[in-house]
Symmetry: C2
Subunit: 335 residues, 2 copies
């Protein structure tokens, strides 16, 4: 074949936004395929914030090596096949990379390619968005993690984005008051007038924090977080007791260094669960704790130690001992 | 009665450590009781880090008003009673305050007082520590939130404290590798030699970060966090996929301003759950998402929008559009 395959090669790890040359467009011959392979022509490429992470650091996927085609999800059509599963003419979804032609290999055990389901009335591109990865992200984040209840208040950041716009609508379907945070009047108009969000906060307006407060009079029960930084901080301050934060994205930190985001970035990348916790919530079950702890103590599995300070007048000093690290074990004042 | 009641009155909100005069020792007459009340003589007072929070800000309990007796938990003995439940001679636990005598009032619906259970072989003070609030904190934090599994690695900060020392031992009881972080050789020796922790990291040593790494060769599955700040940051960086952080205390921030701690302080105070989340973990269930989203879309409950950029050579600019906020809905490159 005389055709060429135009491909975008990662040449440098971007600082901040991509600069010209970070991704270099090169022309290569269209690959020839072997047994067990299929050649597919890429039709559509999904552009996602996570790609910026793939360019810079190891995350849930390894960083893209310099000199290789940039990783991307896409929709492609098989144009030549020596692969049992993917026949000529079939449309497929998978990590095509930023290129015009990709090879599907049966030996690729990661199985990143799958056929586009033949569903009528749907455009193919729906499988890159609402029925694809970004839709699934909104779906599982809301259904499995946020578990929205009727009457709760949900705040979604990057609310006009591919994931946020779906997450907010799932909140509406479940009877939540939904407030979206987005940048600019057009996005705010779209999410309220078209998508039915109860309110939209334009974070580019100077009074957005006051407007967020006014739009969440009963506080916030669920934060579907896509942004991080100052926006997340503000939403977190308005959270109600026992609220849930679905840490889905931290786009504010993808193009700049932000040390305050570092712990949250790790929490996201490693899918950690952080649970704030105060024992008073367990007051009804204190006897259970005392009984079990008492048993362990009696059988020598648990040891404790007390630091006892004598005299009520020493209590102020005793409080300071906690912070200067002078006590070991339980600190008690004997009156 | 000619006796006096020595009491510590909160006079000023401390900056950093308590300064002389923040708590003022005053002598008042011992209160006389009315029907439905009992007078108790305080024997022991529990000294806890949370008291420093109570002095400064509204948290899970309201801030202590200036001019009032400082709030504290204690163990007291009833010396005079006109209260049905608490007879003379009974020992009680509750929020006695930092004073020598306290009044127990039947009208106090918060029911903060309870009798000391009559358990042999146990000192009364055990009910302020290992079988009291700090023990219960360790118990519920470990059993309900961390859910330790055999072979997992648990890191406990403030590991020689009243709660940390119990949390670590509960980890050992459940077959975890337990690493404690504490300040100074004596504490480190106690938690390893007496309590059976597998390793202790003295954070006052300059090479504590390297030692933490060496002590957690398989990473960290559970962080029982009592400290926050730099110590928490270091542990979080070593967490394994799907790890759990029990956010129990942030003592490093109680005596100084630390803006980086602010979001975590709110997460703790409001008992929020933060779940980092990446949709690839749900790969097996993608059809469930697509099916439900497809139904909602078909019935008009879900709308989506695409921003389509034409030409693979535009992909680098398209990636930047995500961060400059130029796209609405799903961003796609048509090849």
């Amino acid at each position: 074949m005389a055709q060429t395959n135009r491909r975008l090669i990662l040449r440098a790890r971007p600082k901040g936004l991509l600069a010209p040359g970070d991704l270099q467009l090169v022309e290569s011959p269209v690959p020839t395929i072997a047994d067990g392979q299929a050649l597919a022509k890429v039709k559509y490429l999904s552009i996602d914030p996570t790609m910026r992470v793939w360019m810079s650091v190891d995350s849930y996927l390894p960083v893209v090596p310099l000199g290789e085609v940039m990783r991307a999800a896409g929709l492609a059509e098989v144009v030549e096949s020596r692969h049992k599963k993917f026949k000529k003419g079939k449309k497929v979804l998978g990590l095509t990379g930023l290129q015009e032609y990709c090879v599907i290999d049966a030996a690729d055990k990661r199985g990143s390619f799958r056929k586009v389901p033949p569903i009528p009335f749907l455009s193919d591109t729906a499988f890159l968005g609402v029925l694809g990865v970004t839709g699934a992200t909104a779906y599982f984040g809301m259904m499995d993690i946020a578990k929205p209840q009727k009457g709760e208040t949900l705040v979604v950041s990057a609310a006009a984005g591919a994931t946020g716009s779906i997450a907010g609508q799932i909140g509406k379907i479940h009877g939540c008051r939904v407030v979206g945070i987005a940048g600019g009047a057009e996005k705010c108009k779209w999410i309220t007038e078209e998508l039915g969000f109860d309110a939209a906060i334009d974070y580019k307006q100077p009074d957005w924090k006051e407007k967020l407060a006014a739009a969440t009079p009963k506080g916030v029960d669920i934060d579907y977080e896509n942004v991080g930084g100052e926006i997340m901080h503000e939403v977190v301050q308005r959270m109600n007791l026992h609220g849930r934060i679905v840490l889905c994205g931290l786009i504010s930190g993808y193009t700049k260094e932000d040390p305050a985001l570092e712990s949250f970035a790790t929490i996201l990348r490693k899918r950690l669960r952080v649970q704030g916790f105060i024992v008073l919530d367990y007051l009804d079950r204190f006897m259970e704790a005392a009984t079990q702890l008492g048993k362990w103590k009696m059988f020598g599995k648990l040891k404790d130690r007390e630091t006892i300070v004598e005299g009520i007048e020493k209590a102020p000093e005793a409080i300071n001992m906690l912070f200067t690290g002078e006590n070991i074990g339980k600190l008690i004042v004997k009156v």
